[in-house]
Amino acid sequence: MLAADPASPRATDWSTIRRGVKARPVEWLAERGILLVSLSTIVMVFLIFLFVGREALPVVLGHLNAARVQEVIPPEKMEAVPAEQLRAYLGLTAAEFARMDKETLRLLMEIKVEEHAALPDDKDARLNTTDWRYLLGPHQWTDYQKPEYIWQPVSQVPKYNLVPLIIGSLKTTLIALLFSVPLALGAAIYVSQLAPPKLKEYIKPAIEMLSGIPSVVLGFFALIVMASVLQAIFGYQYRLNAFVAGLALGFAVIPVVFSISEDALTSVPRSYVQAALAVGSTKWQAAWGIVLPAALPGVFAAVVLGFGRAIGETMIVLMASGNASIVSWNIFESTRTMTATIAAELAETVVGGPHYRLLFLIGALLFIVTFLSNMAGDLIMHRLKSRLEGKK
């Protein structure tokens, strides 16, 4: 156990040995260098948060005005307006702005005036649709009968309500978890407690192979094969829907839930089982009555981490969910998830525009959600292991 256990006294001793550090500057340098490089993981997590969040920040703070009809600056007043404001008004980058002479700018401003004249005189066109009110709450848009949640970023009045996407993500994730957790947990109990040792050595790598299938291949499989087969069986209307995507997502989640709960079940000391067997229980009774309760936090951690995996998965849902942003809890309807929205729309957005920033906001939300679920999962797992090892 000495080598494997970092907490054992011998292993800690090795990490504090610093022979050569004083005599040879190279040793000292190497140690510092190694520490610096290993900090890069922390830097990366920080940078991810910073650079995804940075693009989303104007939306979060409400600094962005996405209203289609805005105050028009007449070309004659060009001189009176500060350069920076003019640049923002014309939607130019700093480099473009610097290259243009007065004449071009005036022309652009005239075009802008004409554009505004052509816009519909719609009360919605004056709304800043990136306001939190419109991002999360329902709104009665023109031509709609009642207040609704709508994600429609490419239209006369872009509508950026996040609720349909959040519901879509939760719906597919829930289906995936409902399908994969019982299966993966059953397999984990079987492999760690019930299966003959010989068989175990073959089953475990086989299930881990499932995690080696690229998600785009699972998405392809769901789109080409599963969608048709499931439609033939259940006879629902839309070929691509949350159900198909959820099942395929489940395939991706199974290995995660399996390997973590298997790990938790195996880390329950052998003596628990042996004691139960000695007083006459069957292996199943020992597994169900003794091992599973002891490892329950680990199973919970597995579900939490599986949730993180499912909500962040992109290609499967992009290909198999149908991608219609509808607010509905019906699992047989087409649905659009947060991840699929980013993947499908980012390429067509204007860099720095409201749509672009909204997609980064969705990304930041995903990052926060998975960050929290990872933290929670790891914490639970860590506590469970130290508790079980402490009891040993």
Partner: protein
Amino acid sequence: MKKLDLRPDTAQGKLQKRRRWKRMLLRDDNLSWDIRRTGVHLPSAFFTGVNAAATGLILGILFFILANILWNGWDGLSWRFVFSGSADDMFDVNKAGVFPMIFGTAARVILMTLFVIPIGVITAIYLTEYASSTSPITRIIRGAVNNLAGVPSIVFGLFGLGFFISFVGGRMDQLFLPDTAEPVWGKPAILWASLTLAVMTLPVVIVATEESLRAIAPGLREGSLALGATKLQTILRVVLPQALPGILTGGILAVSRAAGEVAPILFTGAAYYMAHLPHSLTSQFMDLGYHVFVLSTQSPNIEQTRPILYATVVVLLVLTFALNVVAILVRSQVRRRMRAMQ
């Protein structure tokens, strides 16, 4: 069972006896399997069956997916398909080839390993050889590694676009080529895609390397120190050569994970179609996984292009699975050695 002829007096007999003991000891962990109640407890038998069925169902799904893909993909595969490009029409069943995609995928993962392996291995060395397991900095690094492993791949894509392309690439353009209007660095490119993937696969390399470093007997390190080597010498000449299989496993797993990922490269470098192979760090590339996505969602006639779609999937699967199998084999060797040491 054939009865062993135990002759304790002879060397042969001693060896046999020892082997028998060893076998028993090795089985000790599974002792409970041999302690069984007589008679059958029906509910237990039933639930054991249920769990076995769950396991069977998962394996069945895996088998079905692989069998379906191989069965349908076999016909479309040919040497011409693998080794030719689709110069005219990538949706033409008789002319399409995936060589540019294989090349692009291979190029981006090889480039990625150049970044990820040094950083990953050094971090793992720090965590196992230098850091004390209780210090706050170690815990933060471990937390960061775990979190990095759980960040959704599409968020890595956003990060690659926001950081590598807009920030780093944009700044490089301003610095080195202030007169050029067209961005050279600040646009999707194979370099940025590789860097994004390197950040994504960092945890894979770290975890695998750490595992193999921990599997090395402390006695080896102590022996080296006892002979007068410094710590750095010990790590470079004793520890690292021993850990090589594990480092390799980490690299292979990272490559296999990265080869199949599509979401992070959607905005950082993958091209829908390119007439030529990528020729510099700043060119875009065609990619196998992205091509599977294109073929299955944007094909003008899905029934007609089905053979090339399946064949492309087979090529992608063979690439990632072959790598995975190698990694699993190497890793099982490492684990066996670790168990034997304990």
